[in-house]
């Protein structure tokens, strides 16, 4: 019973948070709604006994991605975050229609048709087991991921700084 209440509350918070994040005009409000969505999802992970994933979700999404988004908004938009122009693209109706159609005609029937397992097995969540798995079969994946993150770091710095360097060169030429 407690689990069901928790699930419904978290599900409603998650959907509302995501919707607000997507439709809100003020971008800062949008980012904070997105944080609420991430937090609700972390709660759902906890409910599914994936506690390490929940911690990583909070650490990465709220602690890092959210702050990064805030910085990007502060650097690109007006500081108030209010977007004065029309917020939706020209074909917004078709976008809405496509999203609803994907849900109603593509995802929902697939879920309802599928033969899903009903019962859960009792599990003992263990960070140690996760760590061992990362070291034994998935070590190459981990290394590739580390490489990817390094590349992303260098790439992000290069892309974000590139314009300035180019500008300097341009002004030197001129």
């Amino acid at each position: 019973m407690t689990q069901e209440i928790t699930f419904w509350v978290l599900a409603i918070i998650a959907v509302c948070g995501a919707l607000v994040a997507v439709v809100r005009r003020n971008l800062i409000h949008g980012v904070f709604a997105l944080m609420i969505f991430f937090a609700a999802l972390a709660g759902l992970f906890l409910l599914l006994l994936a506690e390490f994933i929940a911690a990583v979700q909070i650490l990465v999404y709220i602690g890092a991605v959210g702050i990064l988004l805030l910085f990007a908004i502060m650097l690109t938009e007006r500081v108030t975050g209010d977007d004065g122009r029309s917020i939706t693209a020209r074909g917004w109706f078709w976008g809405l229609a496509a999203a609803v159609a994907v849900f109603v005609f593509l995802l929902l029937p697939a879920i309802q048709e599928a033969d899903l397992p009903e019962s859960t097995q009792s599990i003992q969540p263990s960070v140690k087991a996760l760590g061992h798995k990362l070291m034994d079969p998935y070590v190459v994946t981990l290394e590739v991921l580390a490489l990817l993150l390094t590349a992303a770091l260098i790439g992000a710095v290069a892309v974000a700084q590139g314009a300035e360097v180019n500008k300097k060169e341009d002004s030197d030429d001129a």
Binding site: A55, I67, V127
Partner: protein
């Protein structure tokens, strides 16, 4: 949910909610008193028992301040975002209170009447989670958001500047903070706070190993920055930003910020005590389990006193110095520390001589690296050049 489970949850959480806010009141008094004594002043010494002239060393000051804060007018600036302005102090307090449950303060001794309730308490306490330490860091990170929220919602350029400074600082110092904790996690092989504390039983505190000492120093410095304590209190630099992100806060919202800041100070000192100072370990714990809580709080308090002492000693850093210190000094040093700890752990240490040799070598490497990094990142100090004089 059974009634006994509810009782267990209450026993596991209520002491935390009772102890730490009252310690907060005591700490504000201690801080003001200690700072005053360091600066040759007396500090609060008038407020004591109401309606009398009994001073009680000014111990009534926190209560008087609290009452004053409650009755102050709550001002919201005209252009402010009212919702976020209200939410920011709450969001500052909640994560700070939340992380307290990941400190291994075991209150199961309170359930003297029933063994099963004591067992339940052990099960529901936050530090029983397998990844308690990583949860701690994750939830501490939310604090940053509240700082931004306060700075942005105030519609004040100083607040926004303070908020952005705070975010940059907190993100930068979170990395050495986590990396220095990784050393301990590596040594114990667990992210569970209880297991980490238990691994240090019998004065095997991690602070007494070379890598543990280095990690403790890095952790403590990063913790100072993370909780915006002097000398890293740039986000609230009074002389530059007129208090930074909470410039526009008054009354009880301001008090909430204050409370949140102190609670996160307790929390991070508590984590330092768990990781490096043996948690609740101390003489007499085996016989009386409640002594563990006392020892733990004593360790937290000694760390807090060092924080206050440092605040009375050191001047504030500049922004560029702050960033350079995090990225050019603490970060490489903490990564090197992980390497040193790993090697030292796997070098066979049969006898005492080998062990001492390994310790001396690793201490030497760490010190030399710190010295070298310090030399590399130190800016050339020149006397001030005057433009017009001479």
């Amino acid at each position: 949910m059974s009634f006994e489970l509810v009782v267990a949850i209450l026993i596991a959480t209520v002491p935390l909610l009772a102890i730490f806010p009252s310690l907060f009141a005591l700490t504000t008094w201690l801080e003001r008193k200690a700072l005053a004594r360091i600066q040759n002043r007396r500090g609060p010494n008038k407020v004591g028992v109401p309606c009398t002239r009994i001073g009680l060393f000014g111990l009534g000051q926190p209560a008087a301040d609290g009452i004053k804060m409650l009755f102050k007018e709550d001002i919201v600036p005209k252009g402010a975002d009212r919702l976020f302005h209200l939410l920011a102090p709450i969001l500052a307090l909640i994560p700070a209170m939340l992380v307290l449950c990941f400190l291994p303060l075991d209150f199961s001794f309170l359930a003297v009447w029933d063994e099963s309730v004591a067992k339940d308490i052990k099960a529901v306490q936050g530090f029983a989670l397998d990844g308690a330490v990583i949860f701690f860091f994750a939830i501490t990170g939310i604090n940053t958001l509240s700082v931004f929220m306060a700075g942005w919602a105030s519609r004040n350029k100083y607040s926004l500047l303070g908020g952005m400074r705070a975010i940059a600082q907190m993100i930068s110092y979170e990395i050495p903070l986590v990396l220095s904790a990784v050393v301990v996690v590596m040594m114990v092989g667990s992210l569970n706070a209880k297991e980490i504390a238990d691994a240090q039983v019998g004065w095997n505190w991690f602070v007494f190993t070379p890598w543990g000492l280095a990690a403790f120093i890095i952790f403590f410095i990063a913790a100072l920055a993370e909780t915006n304590r002097s000398p890293f209190d740039l986000p609230e630099a009074e002389s530059e930003l007129i208090a930074g992100y909470f410039t526009e806060y008054s009354g009880f919202k301001f008090a909430l910020f204050f409370l949140g800041e102190y609670i996160s100070m307790f929390a991070i000192s508590g984590l330092a005590a768990v990781l490096f100072l043996g948690g609740g370990e101390g003489p007499g714990v085996a016989g009386y389990p409640w002594l563990a809580v006392v020892w733990f709080l004593a360790k937290i308090f000694s760390l807090i006193f060092v924080m206050i002492w440092l605040r009375g000693t050191l001047p504030r850093l500049r922004v560029d110095q702050l960033m350079a210190f995090a990225w050019k000094f603490l970060l490489p040093l903490s990564i090197l520390n992980i390497l040193v700890a790993g090697f030292a752990h796997f070098i066979p240490q049969g006898n005492v001589v080998a062990k001492v040799a390994v310790w001396m070598v690793s201490l030497g490497i760490l010190y030399a690296a710190a010295k070298g990094l310090n030399g590399l990142s130190r800016a050339e100090v020149k006397p001030r050049e005057y433009k017009y004089a001479q």
